[in-house]
């Protein structure tokens, strides 16, 4: 294995990873040197460590030292295990959005690089890319460790977190080879049902991990790891944490578990190399959707005012949403948002008994709808990708194109609004008139966000096709999210003021819907103008 080739490959893959994520030119230029990543990590640790130490020295209340010392030790023990877990998670999410086609045509497949050099380079690149995670945790724990005189445990945690980083990265390398292989064999046999199954599984994985990363659950997991470390000593991923715990407790086994962790890391590397050698180039497969002879499409349900061209774009977009691996993350959004809302609503419901607290419920109800519709809408033009020339050359009027795009977001938004209403009814048992009011408000917000999202989509499109494509520029997405939520809350403002003007309820409801209508019209006008500008010059 040539060390220089490994280092150069790691640097190139890191650059590719950062540029693929489009984090801005200055950012990627600066971070494209691997040593600057290490510098960032060291700075992060020093800065957080200094701040933590200063805060503990200045503000620590007397009497709380013992409890905090225990928590600090728990944290230091959990960092290595959390590191490998987080790297595996982020790696899985990255892999989910990479197509087989791009893996098979990867330039690296044709370069004179051996499988072991590739795996070493790729593992190092993953370790560089995700090193900010343990750096954050280690930085946050440095201050208290110094303050409580636990610097030896902290150093052990640094060493073992580095090993864990490599363990996590090697596991991701293994997953890469395995998932490509499984995908090839799976789709070859299953066709359309395979696509549906993949969509379901992808959404499930995304929702599971999103919920797992909510604050309360992380605390629960960390606590569980620390409490069960001794009981699960036979699980190799936990060995680095056991080594740290042994240092903390002054036991004589840290070296043993340290060596075991290193050996485990090396064993994983060897397995990853074997898998990579075996499945070096994944075979792109042909997926047969249908075996029936061709019969021209006819819309099953004719929507008045929708032409055949609009209906064709709608059907295409629906297929894109269901069939593209990278689109599953958008379909996972409503599930994650609905779950968060359900948790919050259960608390409101408990606090206010059986009656609905409208002012508290409206933001919880509207923001998820706004976010879902805004995300779908503002990515709807960029997701055409390089195939957008098909739209440019088609004899389509701007209004036709926008109507078709808006139709899909609106339909999915209305379905989501229904689902949210059912959840609300389940948790807080509102009156019939409140349900009607919320439903009307939901529909208005769906229309507003669908129209405004298209403005953002036309103003800031990103047609580039790469790993984790965004379909809208980073500034566009930030602006879209911020203004999208602001628009929803602005529309609901009269109703949010209802507790102050209880005798003016009818007027407030009228004002809410009048604002909604006005915002819809304005959004539509600016969107049409912006889309006309977009279609003047093809951007690819």
């Amino acid at each position: 294995m040539r060390a220089r080739a490994v280092y150069r490959l790691a640097a190139v893959l890191t650059k590719s990873q950062l540029r693929g994520n489009q984090r801005g030119r200055i950012f990627t230029r600066w971070l494209s040197k691997t040593y600057t990543i290490l510098l960032v990590d060291v700075t992060l640790i020093s800065l957080l460590g200094g701040l933590g130490y200063a805060a503990f020295s200045t503000y620590l209340p007397t009497g709380s030292t013992m409890a905090l010392q225990g928590t600090e030790l728990q944290g230091l023990t959990a960092i290595p295990a959390a590191t490998s877990f987080a790297v595996i998670l982020l790696g899985i999410l990255g892999e989910l959005s990479q197509s087989l086609q791009s893996s098979s045509t990867d330039l690296v497949n044709w370069l004179p690089i051996s499988p072991s050099e590739y795996v070493a380079g790729s593992t190092l690149s993953l370790a560089y890319t995700y090193s900010f995670l343990p750096s954050l945790l280690l930085g946050a724990s440095l201050g208290p460790a110094l303050f409580f005189g636990q610097s030896n445990v902290w150093l052990a945690s640094v060493a073992m977190s580095t090993v864990s980083l490599l363990i996590g990265a090697s596991i991701v390398e293994m997953l890469r080879s395995i998932t490509n292989r499984i995908s090839s064999s799976f789709y070859k046999r299953s066709g359309r049902s395979g696509i549906i199954l993949r969509l379901g599984l992808t959404i499930l994985v995304l929702v599971f991990f999103q919920l797992l990363f909510s604050g309360q659950i992380i605390v629960y997991v960390l606590r569980a790891i620390v409490q069960t470390v001794e009981a699960v000593w036979f699980i190799p991923v936990i060995w680095p944490s056991i080594a740290v715990q042994a240092v903390a407790e002054g036991l004589s086994v840290p070296l043993l578990f340290g060596l075991l962790s290193l050996s485990f890391s090396f064993a994983l590397f060897v397995v990853a190399v074997i898998l990579r050698t075996r499945y070096w180039i994944p075979v792109p497969v042909s997926i047969k959707i249908n075996s029936k002879p061709y019969s021209p499409s006819v819309a099953k349900v004719r929507i008045p005012g929708i032409t055949s061209a609009e209906s064709a774009i709608f059907r295409k977009d629906l297929r894109s949403l269901i069939r593209r691996r990278e689109m599953a993350r958008f379909l996972a959004i409503p599930f994650v948002l609905a779950a968060s809302m359900a948790i919050s609503l259960s608390q409101i419901g408990t606090a206010s008994g059986s009656s609905l607290n409208l002012a508290a419920t409206i933001p919880l109800f509207l923001i998820p709808i706004a976010v879902f519709c805004e995300v779908l809408s503002m990515t709807s033009i960029g997701q055409e990708g390089y195939a957008v020339w098909n739209i440019y050359v088609a004899p389509l009027e701007t209004n036709q194109f926008l109507k078709a795009k808006m139709l899909l977001t609106t339909i999915l938004g209305v379905v989501f609004t229904f689902a949210m209403l059912i959840a609300i009814t389940f948790f807080v048992n509102p009156a019939g008139s409140d349900i009607l009011l919320l439903f009307g408000l939901g529909i208005v917000v769906v229309l507003e966000e669908s129209a405004f999202g298209l403005y953002i989509a036309a103003k800031f499109p990103d047609f580039r096709e790469m790993v984790r494509s965004r379909y809208v520029t980073i500034w566009g997405s930030l602006l879209g999210m911020f203004l999208g939520i602001a628009i929803a809350l602005l529309t609901a403002t009269p109703l949010l003021l209802q507790p102050l003007f209880a005798d003016l309820t009818a007027e407030l409801v009228t004002a809410t819907f009048a604002i909604g209508l006005l915002v819809c019209l304005i959004c539509w006008k600016v969107t049409v103008r912006q889309t006309k500008l977009l279609f003047e010059n093809i951007l690819i």
Binding site: S99, Q101, P284, V285, S286, I287, K288, I289, N290, S291, K292, Y294, S295, P296, S297, V298, T307, S308, A309, S311, A312, I313, R315, K316, R319, S320, R323, R324, G385, Y386, A387, W389, N390, Y392, V393, A394, P395, L396, E397, F535, E536, N537, I538
Partner: protein
Amino acid sequence: MVLLQVNAISKGFGELKAVRDVSFSIGSSEVVGLLGPNGSGKSTLMKIMVGILKPDLGTIQMLDSNVAAKPTKAKMMVGFVPESPRLYEFLTGIEYLDFVSDLYGLDRSAKSDRISEFLKALDLEGRENELIHGYSQGMKQKLAIIAAMLHRPKILILDEPLNALDPRSARIVKELIHKFRDEGVPTIFSTHVLEIAEAICDRLIIMYQGKIIAEGTAEQLKTKAGSAGSTLEEVFLKLTGTSDTREIVEALWR
């Protein structure tokens, strides 16, 4: 009858002047070859003709329509294949063609008949229900060519249409171009394969650095270049000032 009139078109991208004051016209029943080295402005000019790029100066007249003023009407008349066409990879071949037919408003029976005929002619029958994702480059090219011809356009604008096609399919496409010409539908297409251009084009336009440097039949161009007995390749290299190939190879070999 003039079907396409290109009037003094210029287009720049910042400092780069991609097309400079280009004018020509195409009549019905004509196959025109657009030749030029890489970066000479052929693809940019074709995109302007289709109406997907706005020229800085000049106008394109397609039949009685100004392309910039009535782009939708103009697009209805054109069949366009871009260089390396990218298709919707999550659709099957048949779904893609069905989608394009609907964009052009073809009725049910017309699209059914035409799609089936084209699929058979270009050897895609039996593969039409597979996702485009799994198609070879040549199959994707065939699909793009079918999509450009499905709605029976009044003019064909094809940017290197024979790229990646197998000999049989390339032959069929060439014959289709002639068939369209016989029906009064002109074609303008770009290619780097000069033998093809010479064999199937009635007229050739050579572009270099954004300008038209020569125009006429293959024989007229040879005469113009002062090398009547030579090949079109020699004429092309002489006209575009790129005939120093031997020196380049010698330098590379050193």
